[in-house]
Symmetry: C2
Subunit: 414 residues, 2 copies
């Protein structure tokens, strides 16, 4: 087995190759990888069954088992995902700005590959294909480290990719999997600054925080979404109801679903009972502040409730005095993911957009749109909730960097 | 004395205020800060003398004493620096991209302040004014942590700024200095993810690496420059000489000066003696490979020499077989700062620009131009040598982030 250092070194070397690939060559590789995936579907599913069996024996939760399990459709989805990435425009090579300085130097900012991208993820084997496909299109080499429960499946997938790359005359090391799932190995990977340019953790808040905590390699933090909808005094209440229900129940288990509803005190009479009943009709448990507790079935919300990302059919709900109260509440509890105001008041809409510090701030639309595909990027590697490099949904462009290129005619500095 | 946590909390609160300031208000503040600096020049210089005296007693190096010392001119330079920042265009508020999605959602990417920026630096008290001025113009609050040798001076400067802010009706906590210079406190600051959005270390490689190693707050790595000039077979040798001499001796102590000269083997006869003598005439010690050692006065270069950022009147020199040899050498030793080829060959120029992985890649110009002011940014907070967020000279724009703002008309996700 290769050491982490050897894996890093091999990735760096392969990244020199991948950086030079033309768009055409990358697209051909992606399509060929997709074909190989589908051609090997049976083997993949058979090996995946072993992982699933072991995981069940180890007593892991059913939601986890569901994410781990591959069937023919899911393998096809992975393959189609790679084909879709092939169809996206290539971000590499674009010169973002180019100007001529007074001394005649031409200075341009050129979009170039990151180099080596590390992905640390949990149980979903489709991340293997999705993340690698995007990194390849962005001209980088990828080092993957998946959860131990999916090790057999991930090994099988990466072996197929590596063989396919070699068949096409490309270095297999454009993608590598770290098969040692020990804690020490993860730690070593997070400190491989010499070879890894960026680390992207994908999975639970626990995983992500552990990477942020331990990595010396620059990290893009994704995920965590304690999202709010604030229904203002002037809101169109039909619209507000549609947005609240959609943002909570359309898919409660994801990071852009809302966890808290705030309403203006002047619409308590008109809106509180109505929205609570509608949420309850959708099987949502409502945990409310004192005012909301007047509605039947509402459970008292603790301070911890307002601080919790349920990712479930639960919502915390509270009444605020006005927009300032809403902004204050959101500032206190927000994870900076997606926040929404429903209002017909122009000034309040603008104030919310300006004063809320989050990756995505909405007026009169469901937070569920925070998504690379919805934003028209064609693909998504995750949703950044940090402020460096990328913020919000990240597509291919966010997987690249830039460098300055300077054309001179002998200029020296005076 | 406030705890680090209290400092962080106060900064976050002040950042809400600074984010709302208009360009006009920020510019007025900056000019008022500059005036206050100059008005208090005598006191600043008197207090600085105490720091200088103590530092001398502690036997610190003379170059360090020079960086630490303030006189009337240097205080004026600091004030003028703030006035210049006031004159720069405000990066905040620009909507970088705005599009309407098929469902009618208008999605825009708006440039907004970082929030709280932490600056960790060493002996140069002018960083206090420079860094804070830029962060203020970028709409953020600043937490400064300078070296213990400059503590009295920095405290005096920050006190002046805080008082000037209050006089103008702004919260003093827009700028704070951590006066506890212990290691533990530095460590605590580097883990204050809750309140600090980005950390920028400025100073020696040792300081920077320690921050990268220990910080869980996102860091922008600046500095380290092991820069090369490669003189190709086809180079205009007069131009090559001018560039090599300028890049080495115009200011050897800075990160964009070159440390290594590589020449094509076919120009050894014509160029090696000439450039070596010229370097020696400029008091540069040449440490060469076997070929260069044929020239009188050249000291043998070790592998470590090629790996060293001298920041001094020393250069390592070697002969390579061709462009591939040069690229290979640079890949091995480069810190990814600034790299230059001198050539008249079109293909080699393009290959060098494409294949060298550095923040700034030059054809036929001195590496000394890697600088925010030279690039026309009007100011510089540092030169990033990492690939995330910013790469190369960083101006005001690099001190900002973006957020998505979304205008809806009731859209929900299907």
């Amino acid at each position: 087995m290769k050491t982490i250092n050897e894996i890093g070194k091999a990735a760096k070397k392969a990244s020199i190759y991948s950086a030079k690939l033309s768009s055409e060559e990358k697209n051909e590789l992606l399509i060929s990888l997709a074909d190989k995936l589908e051609a090997n579907a049976e083997e993949i599913i058979k090996i995946n069954e072993e992982d699933v069996k072991k995981a069940k024996e180890n007593g892991v939760k059913s939601a986890f088992i569901d994410r781990l399990t591959l069937d023919k459709d899911r393998v096809k989805d992975m393959a189609d995902g790679l084909r879709q990435v092939a169809s996206l425009p290539d971000p590499i090579g674009e010169v973002v700005e180019m100007k001529t300085l007074p001394n005649g130097l031409q200075v341009g900012k050129k979009r170039v590959p990151m180099g080596v991208i590390g992905i640390i993820f949990e149980a979903r084997p489709n991340v293997t294909a999705d993340a690698f496909g995007l990194c390849l299109k962005a001209g980088s080499a990828t080092i993957l480290k998946g959860g131990s429960n999916a090790l057999r499946t991930n090994t099988c997938l990466v072996d197929i990719f590596r063989k396919a790359l070699e068949d096409e005359g490309a270095p297999a090391d454009i993608v590598q999997l770290i098969t040692d799932t020990s804690y020490d190995t993860a730690n070593e990977m997070m400190r491989l600054n010499k070879y890894i340019d960026v680390l992207i953790p994908r999975g639970s808040g626990r995983l992500i925080n552990s990477v942020v905590e331990n990595s010396t390699v620059p990290v893009i933090k994704t995920g965590e979404g304690n999202c709010h909808v604030y229904v203002d005094e002037s809101a169109n209440l039909d619209m507000a109801e549609e947005i609240v229900i959609n943002a909570k129940v359309q898919r409660p288990g994801v990071c852009n679903a809302i966890e808290t509803l705030l309403i203006h005190e002047n619409i308590v009479e008109e809106f509180m009972l109505r929205i609570t009943n509608e949420l309850q009709k959708h099987d949502v448990e409502v945990r409310g502040d004192e005012t909301f507790q007047r509605v039947e079935g509402v459970i008292p919300a603790t301070d911890e409730d307002f601080d919790t990302e349920y990712e479930d059919y639960i919502i915390s709900a509270g009444v605020v005095k006005n927009l300032d109260g809403a902004i204050e509440h959101i500032r206190k509890y927000s994870t900076g993911h997606s926040e929404c105001i429903v209002t017909e008041n122009y000034t309040n809409a603008q104030r919310f957009l300006n004063e809320i510090d989050a990756a995505c701030v909405y007026v009169n639309a469901s937070t569920r749109f925070t998504d690379g595909n919805q934003f028209g990027f064609g693909a998504e590697i995750g949703i950044s909730t940090q402020k460096l490099h990328a913020r919000g949904p990240m597509g291919l462009k966010e997987l690249t960097t830039t460098k300055y290129i300077i054309y001179g005619t002998g200029q020296i500095r005076k």
